[in-house]
């Protein structure tokens, strides 16, 4: 045989002869050669057809069984006795150039009497294994056999919940951390959501509420979890913490404000990162908030929650819900604030909280609106990091942009349905944006100079002021126009305090936007200012929501006396000067108070007792040089 033919297994002539001899036959060379060739061919044929059986058995290994089947179907007797799964040992004997399959004798007696009885093969079984691809999991569509929790998961669940709700703060931290990064807890999600929905039963325990909110945060931040429709449940739990008059808030010593702030922050986070999972979520949240805000029967802490909630959802939400509601709400708040009776002290303090929250929300609204006017896109995007960027590592979100489009037909009031008793749904008013000047003038009519202060000062201290001093001078003059008109101002107590919204300082929603490009800022300001002035002039004529009108909203106002003395009187009191940052206010001061009075430094104890309104971004120590001026006949 030549070399090329070696591609196939060959049965040589001699082998055939040998086999014939073993069967007692004598073959001639020629016959043997022919037979050998035929045997080779038949073998190849059988091998080829046995490959077919291998392919259909979905194997890559050709077994003796396959070969036997091929033989059987070509009407050849099958070879018995070689059905083993394992490969047979193929040995060679060097001396004789002989290859053979090792076929050892089996000692049956030994086998029968052996003590180590082999175990039977394990039962064939099916096991499901879940692989999460990308971010999509359908927890509800998993066949139950798969969904039933393994022991490990169950243990994990117990440990985690125990750690989070337990005493050890360190353990809690670890648990939360794990919850935030564990990739294998998709199956537990419903259980965790269920635990979190327990907020309603622990409304007396701020600590527990806080922990549950942290749990929400961890779940929301876990990149491996697909929350799906559980977002609703989570949002509803968070809304509960924001809006409900918690049992814990009966005791004024409990700092439920912080909880609400944190919950509001969390809400906005959930919304901006997972809001697309549930259609109509934005609308439903706004509806719930609006409903609370428009309900005068609710306690002030609920109102506070609604305001911070709106604030956290972005300035558009504020513009859309809070701003139109403000005139109506203002009256109620005014009543509270103007009641100086001792019995009202607590309520009044709450009222100041609400006032501060509104002020903060409204100021940012004005600022963002001013920024977004000339270059809406830029203004919006620039507002984003300021609002949401934090240590929490939010997903890319765009609070400045309008929320994801949602079908308006969606009328389900699923969120916080506990807040909407009877389901007499809030009317979703047709809403059209109010131009900035009109808005400003209206807000100014409510907040007076306290608004103006923040509007101008905050922009100047942001660190991007140096190159636009001229603009600032113009801006600074702006309030003068109002101030010179004492009638328009509402003298409101000016209180400042640091309101720590989130446990971590930088987690708090910051209102100041990051520095926009300088050219833009300049033009924005001047444009905004000029348009404001223009519209102010016109609005007084049109009386659309004129200053005079807005004054009527507060019939009880005690401090508005058209015939009161010179305006300087009130503005000394109204100072909200904060160290270095108050430079922008100086012209204002010099006008009205040529010689600033010696700073009235309040005793620390007293400051602490003050109800806190609003907040600033800097830590408390920066305030050491502030002038605290109060006009509070407490």
């Amino acid at each position: 045989c030549n070399r090329e033919e070696r591609r196939f297994a060959e049965v040589s002539r001699d082998s055939v002869k040998l086999m014939a001899e073993s069967a007692g036959l004598e073959l001639g060379d020629e016959v043997a050669a022919l037979l050998a060739e035929d045997v080779c061919y038949r073998l190849r044929e059988a091998a080829q057809s046995s490959a077919q059986f291998m392919r259909h058995a979905k194997r890559k290994k050709l077994t003796v069984d396959d070969f036997n089947k091929a033989l059987r179907w070509s009407n050849v007797e099958a070879i018995c006795g070689y059905g083993a799964q394992d490969a047979m040992l193929f040995r060679s004997v060097k001396e004789g150039e002989l290859f053979f399959v090792e076929d050892r004798d089996i000692n049956l007696i030994e086998l029968a009497l052996a003590t180590n009885i082999p175990k039977g093969c394990a039962e064939t079984m099916v096991r499901g294994m879940f692989t999460l691809l990308s971010s999509v999991v359908a927890p509800c569509s998993v066949p139950a056999a798969v969904q039933s929790l393994s022991d490990d998961l169950l243990k994990y669940y117990q440990q985690i919940t125990r750690a989070i709700l337990g005493e050890d703060p360190h353990l809690m931290k670890v648990a939360l951390q794990d919850l935030q990064s564990n990739s294998k807890i998709a199956a537990l999600l419903p259980y965790f959501v269920y635990v979190i929905s327990g907020v309603k039963s622990v409304s007396h325990d701020l600590e527990q509420l806080n922990r549950l909110l942290h749990m929400v945060k961890s779940l929301v931040q876990n990149p491996y979890l697909y929350l799906g429709s559980y977002v609703r449940s989570l949002v509803s739990s968070v809304m509960y913490c924001i809006l409900e008059p918690l049992a814990a808030s009966i005791n004024p010593l409990n700092d439920h404000w912080t909880l609400r702030d944190y919950a509001a922050l969390l809400l906005s986070h959930i919304f901006w990162t997972h809001g697309d999972l549930v259609s109509g979520l934005y609308r439903q949240i706004l509806l719930s908030l609006q409903k609370v805000l428009s309900d005068p029967v609710r306690p002030l802490c609920s109102h506070y929650g609604a305001v911070v909630g709106l604030h956290a959802l972005g300035w558009k939400a504020v513009e859309r819900v809070l701003f139109p509601h403000l005139p109506a709400y203002w009256a109620n708040l005014q009543a509270v604030l103007d009641d100086y009776s001792v019995s009202n002290a607590q309520v009044k303090a709450d009222g100041h909280k609400v006032y501060g929250a509104i002020l903060v929300a409204v100021e940012r609204l004005l600022k963002m609106k001013a920024l977004s006017l000339p270059q809406p896109a830029e203004g919006c995007s620039s507002s984003q990091p300021g609002c949401l960027a934090g240590p929490m590592g939010y997903r890319v979100s765009s609070p400045g942009l309008s929320p994801p489009p949602e079908p308006l037909a969606e009328a389900g009031l699923g969120i916080a349905s506990h807040l909407q008793a009877g389901g007499a749904g809030c009317q979703w008013e047709e809403w059209s944006p109010v131009p900035l000047p009109a808005m400003y003038s209206e807000l100014y009519s409510f907040f007076g100079d306290s608004l103006a202060v923040r509007f101008s000062t905050e922009q100047s201290f942001g660190g991007f002021s140096p190159c636009t001093p001229s603009h600032f001078r113009e801006t600074r003059k702006e309030p003068l126009g109002h101030v010179s008109n004492p009638d328009t101002t509402r003298k409101m107590p000016q209180l400042t305090a640091n309101l720590n919204i989130s446990p971590r300082q930088d987690g708090s929603p910051r209102t100041d936007p990051p520095p926009p490009s300088l050219a833009a800022t300049g033009s924005v300001r001047s444009l905004a200012r000029s348009s404001m002035q223009r519209s102010r002039a016109s609005s007084s004529r049109s009386g659309q929501r004129s200053i005079g009108l807005s004054r009527d909203v507060f019939p009880k106002a005690r401090f508005t006396s058209p015939h009161s003395g010179p305006p300087t009187f009130s503005f000394v009191i109204g100072g909200r000067q904060m160290g270095r940052r108050c430079q922008g206010r100086r012209p204002f001061q010099t006008i009205f108070v040529p010689t600033p009075p010696p700073p009235v430094v309040l005793p620390r104890v007293y400051t602490h007792k003050l109800p806190v309104i609003g907040r600033v971004c800097k830590p408390l120590r920066r305030w050491t040089r502030s002038h605290y001026s109060l006009h509070l006949p407490l």
């Binding site: 979905k58 179907w73 009407n75 499901g128 359908a138 039933s148």
Partner: protein, 762 residues
């Protein structure tokens, strides 16, 4: 005896098919009639007792009473008589002779070679015997070819099995073969580039036929030299066939070799532009190269088209099948690929299932809005077949309930897309030491069944609901048949278990399929039978015998009742569960049928084969309406897109090909797998195609994009010349490895979760 009668019918059809071919041979350029192969209908009218005559529409319906008429038909009869006589079926032969009115001496055997096979078909026994490995199957095809050759040979009015082979006998000088072939090779290499690719198609069939001629004429050494010299020139995708060919060096071996018979019985189809063909013809005439010209005339079918010659890549995309490309005419028939209208079922407003969910301690979920995609076929699809084109079973009450469940589930379906891939749940068969050979999952994903090489079928419940048997007859008598929960009462609680094993087969179970209503399970096995099992009693109800060889695959129709099977005997059969004989026989493939699939509208059946073609058959009349070529290896997976428009196929070559059924065109090629693809499945809305392979991966493909990018202009549709862009990488959305577990089955749940299954193979 049924078997024999049945085989006889099959043979008749094959013979007639051969006749068609024979006529074509006379003029190579004549428009051939539609593919005559495989239009055999056994048992006419059995499919439709209600609509008589439905099965007689085919061009070559198997008719038991051929009337002697034109000479061709007489030839056919003679061939049959000859065969019967040789098979020692004297009685049948006599009956046929009498009925056909043929003279007594019509069967005067003059055949030279008695085909070497002894008693071909032992009467009365289903067993195939004979010394020859080719057995019945091969003989059938041989005889058909014999008939085909007969009219051509002058003076040979006695068709015989040996004729086909003797066609090689009177050829020229064997030593010149080398020169002939090299001459042609030189010529083809010297022609213009645009023609070279087309004419290169000639190499392989010519090579094979010349080699076989040499072998037949006992020029073994010349043949070997010829093979050595030129086998390297052939396209790599013919490697498998060449290997078989190379082992064939003796005239005696040719008789039993199936691959060889495939070359002989079917004409190799080439598609060549008119310009290229003229070029070739002129060359051969100038050179007086009759040898090659003869082969072209006798063994090749050249499909000539007008227009631009095709490029190499275009040709490569379509070639690779055992018998060349499909003739263009084969894909011209109209296919009603649209979906049938779904019966309208009122969706009740009860929310029992949601309450059930609440019991499990989960917070109540908001009910998502019902969107409109749940009911997709509200109005009649223009491409859909008539609702009554084939009779479908009536919907039972339980079916309606299931439809309602389905609609409810589909409202919760996840919209998949390239940015929203399905999660995968992999069901691993552990300790499947006996070898897992087939898997199926019910449509509602509640049951999973495995067919094993140890002849068992095992059914598992993957929901907490255990599998229960119906009580014994004695116990059934005791229960109150009027009670509302009678269906619950008939179940025997004592038998509840997660796993039920079905014993009955005597060979590996290669194919299984659940009925849509989950009451039955079909299994096909190496033992040549298909068994129908009841999932109520977990016993075997029927054993369908018809395939005498291993049955590789079987599948239920999407509407139940019908099922299709295909196996080693190269025919696919359509059955109805209440008939023990097949309703239709789809014959035409040149090698084993490896997989079978029903079209979603149940009017068509697709079969994939080892001959590397896919055929689409019309259930109504048994015609082959599409032949798709392009795969370079046996096809092991098929999947119809949910809208019925497209077909995906996967083969041992690791490629997935996409086909447009309406136009009969290849529309996509998905490369990525490195081993045989055993499973394909479209997501419920057709956005994603999942493929599972022997290479232990599941791959997800962007089917939407693959079909969206499609632009089928009239020219492409008319000529079938496709331009495939190589965008596999863009379409591949993900590759997911398993742990040494070949992926045997894929299934999308009603909510578009992907289930995959396979046996851990350490």
């Amino acid at each position: 005896m049924e078997h024999d009668q049945f085989k006889f019918i099959f043979k008749m059809a094959a013979v007639q098919g051969g006749m068609v071919d024979a006529k074509d041979e006379l003029d190579i350029k004549s428009e051939p009639p539609s593919d005559g192969f495989g239009n055999s209908n056994a048992n006419d009218g059995r499919l439709l007792s209600s609509s008589p005559g439905a099965g007689t529409g085919g061009t070559a319906t198997g008719n038991n009473k051929p009337a002697p008429g034109p000479p061709e038909e007489q030839q056919t009869l003679l061939a049959v008589l000859q065969f019967l006589k040789k098979s020692k079926l004297a009685e049948s032969a006599e009956i046929l002779r009498r009925e056909a009115g043929l003279p007594e001496d019509a069967l005067d055997p003059k055949g030279t070679d008695a085909s070497g096979s002894g008693p071909g078909l032992a009467a009365g026994s289903g067993q195939v015997d004979g010394v020859d490995a080719s057995s019945l199957l091969s003989r059938v095809t041989v005889s058909s070819s014999a008939a085909a050759q007969a009219p051509k040979k002058a003076g040979e009015d006695q068709p015989d099995v040996s004729v086909v082979l003797s066609a090689y006998s009177q050829q020229g000088d064997p030593s010149l073969y080398d020169a002939y072939y090299s001459g042609l090779k030189r010529f083809i290499e010297s022609v213009l580039d645009c023609h070279r690719a087309e004419l290169s198609q000639l190499f392989y069939p010519l090579f094979v036929h010349m080699y076989l001629e040499l072998v037949y004429n006992n020029n073994e050494s010349v043949a070997k030299a010829f093979f050595e010299k030129f086998s390297g020139d052939q396209e790599c995708y013919y490697e498998q066939d060449l290997r078989i060919l190379s082992s064939l060096t003796k005239k005696e071996h040719m008789k039993g070799n199936e691959t060889l018979l495939d070359f002989r019985t079917s004409k190799f189809v080439l598609r060549i532009s008119r310009d290229s063909y003229q070029l070739l013809k002129r060359h051969l005439q100038e050179r007086q190269n009759n040898q090659i010209w003869n082969i072209i005339q006798e063994h090749l079918y050249i499909d000539i088209f007008d227009g631009m010659p095709r490029s190499k890549s275009q040709i490569d995309a379509m070639s690779g099948s055992l018998a060349g490309e499909a003739r263009r005419e084969a894909n011209k028939a109209k296919v009603f690929y649209g979906l049938l209208k779904e019966p309208e079922i009122e969706l009740p407003l009860d929310d029992e299932d949601e309450e059930a969910e609440n019991e499990e301690g989960k917070p109540k979920k908001k009910k998502p809005k019902k969107d409109s995609m749940g009911s997709k076929s509200k109005k009649q699809d223009p491409n859909a077949p008539l609702q009554t084109r084939i009779p479908l079973p009536e919907l039972k009450d339980s079916d309606k309930l299931d439809k309602i469940m389905y609609m409810k589930e589909s409202t919760k379906r996840i919209r998949l897309g390239s940015d929203n891939l399905p999660s995968i749940c992999f069901y691993t068969f552990l300790n499947a030491y006996q070898g897992l050979t087939a898997v199926d999952v019910t449509d509602d994903s509640s049951l999973i069944a495995g067919g094993f090489a140890d002849s068992t079928v095992r059914v598992w419940s993957v929901t907490p609901k255990k599998l229960r048997k119906v009580k014994s007859a004695a116990d059934l008598n005791l229960i109150d048949k009027e009670s509302d929960d009678v269906l619950e009462r008939i179940m025997d609680e004592k038998t509840a278990s997660e796993l039920k094993i079905l014993y009955g087969h005597s060979g590996p179970v290669y194919g299984i399929s659940f009925s849509p209503d989950r009451n039955y399970l079909l299994s096909s096995s190496e033992d040549g039978t298909i068994r129908l099992w009841s999932l109520q009693t977990f016993t075997c109800l029927v054993g369908y015998k018809g395939h005498n060889y291993p049955v590789w695959d079987t599948q239920f129709s999407p509407y139940g009742y019908y099922f299709v099977s295909g196996g080693h005997d190269r025919v696919a059969r359509l059955w109805a569960t209440d008939h023990y004989q097949p309703l239709r026989i789809f014959a035409g493939h040149l090698a084993d049928i490896t997989c079978t699939r029903f079209h979603p509208n149940s009017n068509y059946v697709a079969t994939g084969s080892s001959d590397r073609t896919i055929r689409l058959w019309d259930v109504l009349n048994g015609n082959c309406v599409r032949i798709f070529t392009g795969h370079k290896g046996p096809i092991h997976a098929l999947a119809f897109s949910p809208n019925g428009k497209f077909l995906a196929s996967g083969a041992t070559d690791g490629r997935v090909l996409l086909w447009d059924i309406g136009h009969g065109l290849m529309v996509g090629e998905l490369k990525g797998h490195t081993d045989t693809i055993y499973s394909l499945r479209f997501s419920r809305d057709g956005e994603i195609l999942a493929s599972g392979s022997m290479d232990n991966t599941v791959r997800l493909w962007d089917a939407m994009k693959a079909f969206d990018d499609l632009e089928t202009d009239d020219f492409t549709a008319a000529t079938g010349h496709i331009h495939l862009q190589d965008n596999s990488q863009e379409l591949l959305l993900g590759t997911y490895m398993t742990k040494s577990t070949p992926v045997l089955h894929l299934h999308f749940t009603r909510r578009n979760l992907l289930l995959a299954a396979g046996a851990y193979n350490p």
